[in-house]
Amino acid sequence: MRIKIDYKKCIGCKQCEIVCSLAHTGTVNPWRSRIRIFIREEFCLPVIAGPYTEAACNSKGMVMVDGLEVDGCVVCRASCPTKSVYKEPDTGIPLKCDFCGEPPDPQCVQWCAPEALTLIEE
């Protein structure tokens, strides 16, 4: 099971960030969210937090996604020492998507009205 991202449908409303923090912390604060939307002029890119890596990588640069040139650090899902996203703002504890528990019921998918995020069996 995984969350499929269709970035072309994303409108950058950040409802997924809001509900993620709401579901995990009981408060609304996008800085505590496990999913982040990176907004560009021509498209928005939702990225879901993956596992923490202890070391920063040395392969930074631009990568091509679907014909678009994107900063590799942006599409990388890892929470790492050099990035400030996917960390609890107060404690610095790394965050990771847990599919909102067992059985998986990701709230971001539930709240994503444009259906840029969908849960698929795989």
């Binding site: 950040k14 409802q15 609304v28 539930q110």
Partner: protein, 605 residues
Amino acid sequence: MFGWNGRILRIDLTRGTNWVEEMPTYLMQEYIGGRGMCIRILFDEIDPRIDPLSSENKLIFATGPLTGTGAPAASRFIVSAKSPLSNCIANPCCGGYFGANLKYAGYDLLIVEGKSPGPAYISIHNDRVEIRPAEHLWGKLATETEHALRVDMRLRDDLDDWALNTIGIADIGPAGENLVRFACIMSDGGRAAGRSGLGAVMGSKNIKAVTALGTGQVNIADAEGFRKAVMGFYQEGRNNGELIKRRMYGTWSLPGRANKSKSQASLNFKEGYSEAFVKYEDPEVIRKLIRVRDEGCFSCPFGCSKRSRIKDPEYPKTAKGPEHESMALLGSNCGLGDMEDICRANYLCNELGMDTITTGTMISCAMELYEEGYLPEKDLGYPLEFGNRNMFKLLKQIAHREGIGDLMAEGGIAFAAKYGHPELFMGIKGMGIPAWHPQAFDALGLQYATNNVGANHTKSTLPFYEGRKDPAHFVEFTKKDQDYLAIADSGVLCWIIYHGPLWGEKLSEWLTYITGTTYTQETLDRLGERIWNLERLFNLKAGITCKDDTLPPRITKEPRVKNRVVDIDRLLQEYYEWRGWDKKGVPNQEKLQELGLEKEGAGVI
């Protein structure tokens, strides 16, 4: 505390200081937030007779209890001050990310007082509030300013990529700096708190921009219940035809609707129909022609804002808009029928920071004056008949106050009077009339005329949802509607979504979940009515009377559309009666007692 932060941030520009005040409880409970709090504070703190461009005017940026909570379409913030255009109260609202950031930074209201000695911008990063020099930003266009500020913030605040996208910026373009009386406050690359000329108030205080970045949180009283309610709402919303249309086309479905029903402002309101707009009656045509992607404001899943492409190499690749109002006022109203041209005009207005609606009526007024021979070509320096692309030149002249633009920047009343024909400016209380022709529906004429801020399209519902243009009830309905939207603007919820598809109980539902205080429909109706009456009292004190609740003679005397005129005098009397006001539009003693506003009414009635 739930919903609200309970904190007011005040900045005194003259002294260069700032401090935080605790929010009085009654202000939260009885005025909700946004628009309600703004009028209460302005009523208490400024003399309604002051010069709006003097340092005594106060500029308030306000959020509401719903802002930043994830309640659908609760992204907006209200900017309020006394308007330099209409001399009334002004409270335009604006979407984007600014409101939520102000809230996350820990403030419900930001009150800016005094006048900065030199160009400056205000930077809010949680508890760190600074007034920074802005010489390097002065003169820049709106998105240029935002870009420069993001570069500043990347360096000074060490922000990452995601955070830079998340910050909210409210800024003015050259029009605001030059005190053009219908200048907007722009936000997030093309959204505007547009209608009342508050850009000029910001310019008069020498403030180029306000940036807000908040990393804090908003607490919700019943988080679980709220989360489920919103989820249920989205599941319903997927089948709501109106919402689906909004998401797909935004306001682009309206030019067709208006044109087909002969109610599209056209050629300075001489007509209600534009031949050139027939090709845009199908919104799919516009979508295919210019759309790049849909954009949502913060926490709004409907994404009715569209990013569009301008093919002209002189312009940037993509820009926000144009919305229906801009299409009508800068397009059909000025005789432009080509979407590319409309996009250009809209882009110029946004970048220069001018209200597209009032600007549109100004230009169409100049065009009619020119065609009728009242405005000599030597004053302009070029011909300017309807549809002439010289209007782009004129737009820039107004924003920079060059040549004839200097006079036009003072607003339509002064401009049209100078050339001897004040009746050719299509405005109410100095503010240009929006896209729907008032002769098409009597209800519209009444709504524009009685609006506290001037001819505004956002403070009463356009009467296009079932039952609302019912001839027997629309006067009563207008009153209800105005009160309802006073609450929506206090929430702050987006009127585009909540005035049509979601009319009704949703306001009280979200408020109750979030604040933990039980709000019923009846309480909210009363609070809304009180806000409206308090605004009226402010206007009366500022010297605005029932004589200003009127429409241009073109609307009341010349049957231009559907062979009808608006009998505004009769409608006004009926409306005043519903409001509980006397024949001169002054709230009477009983009404004020009922609303608990006797003290405020002293000296007016």
